[in-house]
């Protein structure tokens, strides 16, 4: 682990309490993860714009920076300098806390995802449960945003977010039980190590259920009910401007990062690939961008479901399928 024996000895010698040592290492790591995921957001937004442009016969950003790569930076600086409108009727604290909650929940979720052998901040023994649970708190942020902005579209967006979370939380969690059974652990690094053979082949039903409910969990098309632009003008973030909106954007993309990374870890063998162990992160990145591309491809191809169809799909198709998956896995493993 990263808190190596020498460091502990050094701390003990100099009278530094162990928690302070932990905290300082955690701070360094948190900043590293933050810069990494900041870079990731920049790359993903650029990729999203380029992929969508490619699908739509367009060019995408070309003018700002080399091949338009500085586009997001320009957008961010602009959002930073925009006026911060705080609507008169909005609830003071709900309105303020919502973007922060969405952003922090998504960011903290990145803590347990291993991107290479031993390259992980905290390898929790319940890492899988943690990474399923913590990013879902973001939904509370959406509901707060919807309720706090005193706006009808935002309100309906927040309620839809809640409805969607209610329907897809369970299938998503149940679909990975099969993996826990196979790997015999809920620790993410153990799950990766157990994958001599990728779990996507051993758990095809689980993979499908997981991918679909992940799309719903991170509110991407065809499940972007909370921000359905054609009816709810901008969904839960209708009243937000400037940097507060940017945090919703960050939150959304960091959720995409953690969802895609989790898919790689659980089903696509994590950092495993031919070549020495040192290439692990590179293999991880290749698989990661593959998954992200698929998610974007879906996003720019499909229309949106209706809210009742969304819930039907969750409860009547995905949940039974996920339970069936557990059943099949159990029976096959017992035989």
């Amino acid at each position: 682990m990263l808190t190596s024996v020498e460091l502990v000895e050094f701390a003990a010698k100099n009278g530094i309490p162990i928690w302070a040592l932990d905290a300082s290492i955690a701070l360094v790591l948190a900043l590293a993860v933050f810069s990494l995921c900041g870079l990731g957001v920049i790359v993903l937004v650029y990729m999203e714009r380029k992929v969508s442009a490619d699908i739509q016969l367009r060019l995408g950003p070309t003018h700002v920076g080399p091949r338009g790569s500085l586009q997001l930076i320009a957008d961010m600086i602009k959002l930073l300098s925009k006026e911060d409108v705080f609507p008169k009727h909005a609830d003071r604290w709900l309105f303020r806390l919502a973007p922060a909650l969405v952003f922090i929940a998504a960011f903290v979720g990145l803590m347990v995802i291993p991107i290479g052998p031993r390259l992980v901040v905290q390898d929790l023994s319940v890492g899988l449960l943690y990474v399923l649970a913590i990013p879902s708190i973001a939904v509370a942020g959406l509901i707060m945003a919807g309720f706090g902005s005193y706006n009808k579209y935002a309100m309906m967006g927040g309620l839809r977010a809640a409805a969607q979370m209610v329907s897809y939380e369970v299938p998503r969690a149940l679909s990975v039980i099969g993996i826990v059974m196979l790997a015999g652990s809920a620790k993410l690094s153990t799950i990766v190590d157990a994958q001599g053979f990728w779990y996507i082949f051993l758990q095809p039903i689980g993979f499908m259920v997981f991918l679909v409910s992940t799309l719903a969990e991170i509110n991407r098309v065809p499940f972007d009910m909370p921000e359905a632009e054609s009816e709810l003008v901008h969904g839960y973030s209708t009243e937000y401007s400037g940097m507060r909106y940017a945090f919703f954007l960050f939150g959304e993309y960091i959720a995409l990062i953690s969802a895609a990374a989790l898919t790689v870890v659980l089903f696509l063998g994590g950092w495993h690939g031919p070549g020495p162990e040192l290439l692990g992160p590179i293999w991880f990145a290749i698989k990661f961008f593959g998954v992200v591309f698929v998610i974007m491809w879906v996003r720019w191809t499909l229309p949106r479901f209706r809210i009742d169809q969304v819930m039907d799909l969750g409860w009547k198709v995905l949940l039974p399928l996920a339970l069936l998956n557990i059943l099949i896995t159990g029976i096959v493993m017992s035989i």
Binding site: D22, A23, E83, N151, M243
Partner: protein
């Protein structure tokens, strides 16, 4: 355990600092020019708010919420079971199958009663 909690809190603190810092920079850079109209509710351009958004709205997914709690609890039971499944073998499978079946029957019952329909 304590180390994990420290890590978690440091991550939350870093996230919170970023949020506060960015909003502070925005506060410094922005040009504030407020009018009553700007602070009013966005209503597709309409000036008059025709009704209060904070009303007792019909939550048609209330029952779904109850079901979510039931299945979430089931899920929490399933995780430890799944971790040690390899060493427990067939008996554990049958036991858990009975457990899942009961819940599945509950789901089927709710389905038959028409609760899962968005009316």
């Amino acid at each position: 355990m304590i180390s994990e909690i420290i890590y978690f809190s440091v991550f939350v603190a870093v996230g919170l600092t970023v949020v506060v810092l960015m909003l502070g920079i925005q506060k410094l850079l922005q040009t504030k020019r407020h009018s009553d109209a700007k602070l009013s509710v966005y209503e597709c351009g309409n000036i008059d708010v025709v009704s209060d958004p904070r009303i007792q709205i019909k939550m048609r997914y209330y029952i779904f919420g109850l079901l979510l709690i039931i299945f979430d609890v089931e899920m929490i039971f399933l995780f430890p079971w799944a971790v040690v499944f390899k060493s427990l073998g067939l008996v554990a499978l049958i036991e858990m199958l009975v457990f899942i079946m009961i819940l599945l029957l509950g789901l089927l019952y709710a389905w038959r009663k028409g609760v899962l329909k968005w009316t």
